[in-house]
Amino acid sequence: MTSPTPAPGTVTTPPPPGPPPEATERAPAVPADHVAASIDGVDVVVPKGTLIIRAAEQLGIEIPRFCDHPLLDPVAACRACLVEIEGQPKPQPACAVPVGDGMKVRTAQTSPMARTAQRGVLEFLLINHPLDCPVCDKGGECPLQNQAMSHGPGESRFILPKRTFPKPVALSTQVLLDRERCVSCARCTRFADEIAGDPFISLQQRGGRQIVGISDDTPFNSYFSGNTVQICPVGALTSAAYRFRSRPFDLVSVPTTCEHCASGCALRTDVRRSTVMRRLAWDDPDVNAEWNCDKGRFAFPYLQRDRLDAPLVRGAADGAGAHVAVSWPEATRTAAAALAEAGPRTVVLTGGRLTLEDAYAYAKFARVALGTDSIDFRHRATSAEEADLLRTVVAGCGLGVTYADLDVAPTVLLVGFEPEEESPIVFLRLRAAVRRGGTQVVTVAPFASPGAAKLHARVLGAAPGQEPGVLAALAQPGPDGGADRPDLSAAGSVILLGERAAQVPGLISQAVALAGSTGARLAWVPRRAGERGALEAGALPGLLPWGRPLGDPDARAQVATAWGVDPAALPTEPGLDLAGFLAAVAQDEADAAAHAAAPDAGDGAEAQLPARRVAAVVLAGVEAADAPDPEAFLAALGAVPFVLSLETRTTEVTALADVVLPVGVVTEKSGTFLDWEGRARPFGQVLRESTAITDARALALVARAMGRPLGSIEVADLRAELAGLGRWQGPRPAAAPVAAPVPPAPGPGQAVLATWRHLLDQGRLQAGEEALAGTARPAVARTSPATAAALGLVDGGPVTVAGAHGAVTLPLVVTAMVDDVVWVPGNSAGSRVGVDLRAGAGDVVRLTPAVRSDEPGGAP
């Protein structure tokens, strides 16, 4: 073949530019590692390696682009960005050529060569484009439309038939492709490959038939797939959720914060006539860059589903009977009367989803209106060891380890934490860091999860219960001198503790010790968006806002002043946490049973029934299924004399409540989430016209009815009050290290249960988004080959995992992993560990090969 251009070595390499003639006149010295150049005659100094297109952006010079994306590797495929570089015969792609020292670049503004090149490419891009803008989802916000207008030819010379394809193709249940609109920019495929690490889509075929596609048996089931829809520069990729729903110019956009996890993504919520139409990732370089996950993007139909619209109380005068809708005053009066009576014998469980301001209102309500310190935001498997950690090194410590720290950390150790499932932006940031080459991720886990594999993580295998031992070994110099050991002592190393660390006794203590001995920094990454905020708000026994120890008189005095109450009125003794609540109710029940069974003393005087330890419970949107033992939790609620539930919809919990107050969802209020870093992520009210009542306002109404007003509960006032309090500067109690018990030893036919939740699962906030659910990972059980062989389990065959109170049956995927462990997803269809199996991580379970229930005579 003949190439009309010279061979390699001479084709695109710019000739080394000699010293530019005016070099001597250039006044300011160019800093080291920088280059000086000019674009359209304007001088620019940029760091070496800066692409021309980025330098032009700094100067406000517009260069059209399609394939270019600042967060993706350059491909220079679309050729829309061609510019003239002095001394080069051919126009060059600004998105792929770094600025050279002394380089003189001319864009379409000043160069006829660049102008005709850009115009020509835009003309080519448009010839086969359907130009169905009026019915295209991208119409009105389309880079092709916009740049065709700004840089393209006004009219088409193309008279041949356009390329057509049957439409659309489903790349997954969620992402649909209209092939005729695709401009082959490869943004979507590069995103999938480079950023998400899920190369399930790629360009296929060639020439004009080149198209994005999947392989037949592998749909684009990536947790991050929605980003491709957002960065597609045309309407080729659409989401099933938004396709044909709205036009961009009918939308009102509000910057928001995602409520689905503690990653803290900046989002944009688009609303049309009081209905959320879609959510997009918004740009926040400090947090989510320009990405987010599909849960945050698509899981919003819940906002409008099964909503409660009126307060409910029990119909009959005796407080029994069915719920009836009543007015707010009546409901708050009823609640106030019951709570006033229960007083400090009330427990407040706030769940992990509240905003900082709402959680603060609960914390204040508990202390001021109820006089109790019994408040716990953790509605999941927890431990006193965890509470200690939170009180001593997390609460009130401000911004700790940040995303930016992860970018440059030489070693990141994951403990009880699967970032891709539990905090997707942590995953993306770590993946970017690993891809840049400076970061090694190490995880203590029973196997290399898909997410760990995409982080090229080194797996320190551990069955549940064995993790403390693994960490202890890391802290000790080994016989090999530690050469093969992940090096946590390298400056900047980080230990990320997931909330699941609380499930393993001694693990948190061991992690704290490891951080202490290596100098690695420790961060706690909860799953839910509201956990860090609730912690800072003081929704934990023994803790007042911003890390103030309840037992510290100064701390109590500061808070009492801010709240305008008598310091003596604040509780001084730590209250009950979730576990304490359950235990106290169990004791109450035992007392009652004993009392009922006690023989009459014979003197006619009844034995005095001891006062109940828990007389009332206040619940903020907690989900029974999230409790460590949902059945036991519901039973406890049933036993408590008075239950007040502040909820957005009917649930198993509201069914048990004596009073239900309907509160607003996240779009109906403003507020703040604190992400795992401790960074404030404030957001405004999306549905401005909503009259929904916030948790804080509902509590204020109850408190007022109790005669113990809380003061202003406007979000702005709550924020100001919190800000005025500031972080605790005084002494903190030391944490008491917990020794790890001997790890469980499963017997024959048994294994230790390992479990965590998939990002996409049966979570309530994902309800109603079928297309999203279609991309979830299937529920499977995993064991090692040896464990499978020992138990007679076959790969792909069904296995029944049984605990003392329940069982799940799932297909088995034999996995390279720690022996004598079975892993199942925590809350997926067919595998709801709390509800169905009624066991938790670290419990010993039985494994048996199951006969499929659809086979004749098969057991379920």
Binding site: M1, P8, A77, R79, A117, R206, G207
Partner: protein
């Protein structure tokens, strides 16, 4: 000037493709000589010979080898480009059929020079017979101890792999070839980095044409000076030129660079009906066409460039006046449209648009305005596409319009098959000699 049979010297021997036939004429003697010289001296020798790449671009071969970083601790690779798919080019395929061992010996010497222990020959997918013959040659070379571990006691190891492509023109572009060889879809890579720095498996790689590498044993045998006895200062040596079209004896002629087309036509027996060509292309379909007035230009890189075309693969296609220029150009554009890889906009979209418009001319339905548009479309591709395939696609039309404007104007009303009897251009035509 005369024929210069070097690569083709023994093609008429029945066993020229066997190791026995090759060794009979001194084959494989250069391996030991190369080991004696050492890698750096080999690179210098090829530099001194002035050998230029035979794959089309004519890049100096020794210089390319010199770009490979030495002592970098990475594996190095030699990749031989045997994808010959350019319309009109038919020189590498016959060479590999008749003299495959020259290529194998060249691979040994080149790999040794660039410190590669793995070499690959990437053969286009549509020629299974060539693939078989190459594999047989490689097997023979292994059996004779010229390949494998510790070749002839030198301590040098070389594994040579013959790899069949799946039949895509773009996989002849060296970086697309590397992607294809790695098991990916063949599309060109963004450069830099160039293959010499990060090629196959991101390691330093030399990509050379079959004929380039086959030259190497002969240079090693005869010395650098020897090559410069032919050709010009800028185009030294001899060249396999495959002549096709309306000549009496189409085929591969090995001649000194600088031979004129008129001489080459003589070797090929002249035009089939006598007279002079209507138009001809010195180096495959990707170079601008010339006419009879250019027959006396020396076929060198520099003279062809001066005439506004390129020597390319030096595989001239010759057409007599039975051929419709419109139809010929249309076929070529169909080819480029079909072979465009789709990566970049100008080539992906432009080839289709141009081809579609050319079909209108072929059907006698073009307009004069569209001629101007076609020129503009070619200019919108030329120098703007990602790789040289796009440039190649933009090449045929403008020269054809320059030389045969009236024929294009005629194509605004008369279909090509009416203006030119389609049978007359074929061997079925009355009076055709073949």
């Amino acid at each position: 000037m005369t024929l210069t049979p070097v690569l083709t010297a023994h093609w008429d021997e029945a066993d020229s493709h066997t190791i026995g036939g090759y060794r009979r004429h001194g084959g494989y003697e250069q391996v030991a000589r190369g080991f004696e010289l050492g890698p750096d001296a080999l690179i210098q020798m090829v530099k001194d010979s002035g050998l230029r790449g035979r794959g089309g671009a004519g890049f100096p071969t020794g210089m390319k080898w010199g770009f490979v970083p030495q002592g970098d601790g990475k594996p190095h690779y030699l990749v031989v480009n045997a994808d010959e798919s350019e319309p009109g080019a038919c020189k590498d395929i016959p060479l590999m059929l008749a003299n495959p061992h020259a290529l194998v010996e060249g691979c040994i010497l080149t790999s040794y020079a660039i410190r590669a222990n793995w070499a690959f020959i990437y053969v286009r997918g549509e020629v299974p017979h060539v693939h078989r013959r190459l594999r047989a040659a490689v097997r023979e070379a292994y059996a004779a101890g010229y390949l494998g571990r510790n070749i002839m006691g030198s301590g040098f190891d070389l594994e040579l792999v013959v790899h069949a492509g799946a039949g895509a023109y773009i996989c002849g572009e060296e970086t697309a070839l590397l992607d294809s060889l790695e098991g990916r879809r063949g599309q060109p890579r963004l450069k830099p980095p160039f293959p010499a720095v990060a090629g196959l498996y991101a390691s330093p790689t030399v990509v050379n044409n079959v004929e380039t590498i086959a030259n190497v044993p002969y240079i090693v045998r005869n010395g650098a000076e020897w090559l410069t006895q032919w050709g010009t200062e800028k185009s030294p040596g001899f060249k396999l030129m495959s002549v096709s079209g309306h000549v009496r004896r189409p085929g591969v002629y090995e001649v000194a660079l600088g031979t004129t087309m008129r001489q080459l036509l003589e070797y090929a027996g002249g035009m089939r009906h006598g007279g002079e060509p209507k138009f001809w292309l010195p180096g495959g379909s990707s170079v601008p066409m010339l006419t009879a007035e250019h027959l006396d230009l020396p076929l060198t890189y520099e003279d062809m460039a001066a005439a506004g075309t390129m020597l390319g693969t030096a595989t001239p296609m010759v057409f007599d006046d039975t051929v419709s220029v419109v139809k010929a150009i249309t076929r070529w554009l169909d080819f480029y449209k079909h072979e465009s890889c789709g990566k970049c906009t100008p080539c992906r979209e432009g080839t289709g648009w141009i081809a579609g418009t050319l079909h209108r001319f072929e059907a006698g339905q073009g307009t004069e305005a569209e001629l101007g548009m076609l020129e503009e479309l070619c200019a919108q591709i030329m120098g703007r596409s990602f790789c040289a395939l796009g440039d190649a696609a933009a090449t045929p039309f403008p020269a054809a319009l320059t030389h045969f404007r009236s024929e294009w104007l005629a194509a605004t009303h008369t279909p090509a098959d009416q203006a030119f009897d389609p049978v007359a251009a074929t061997v079925l035509a009355a009076g055709a000699t073949r």
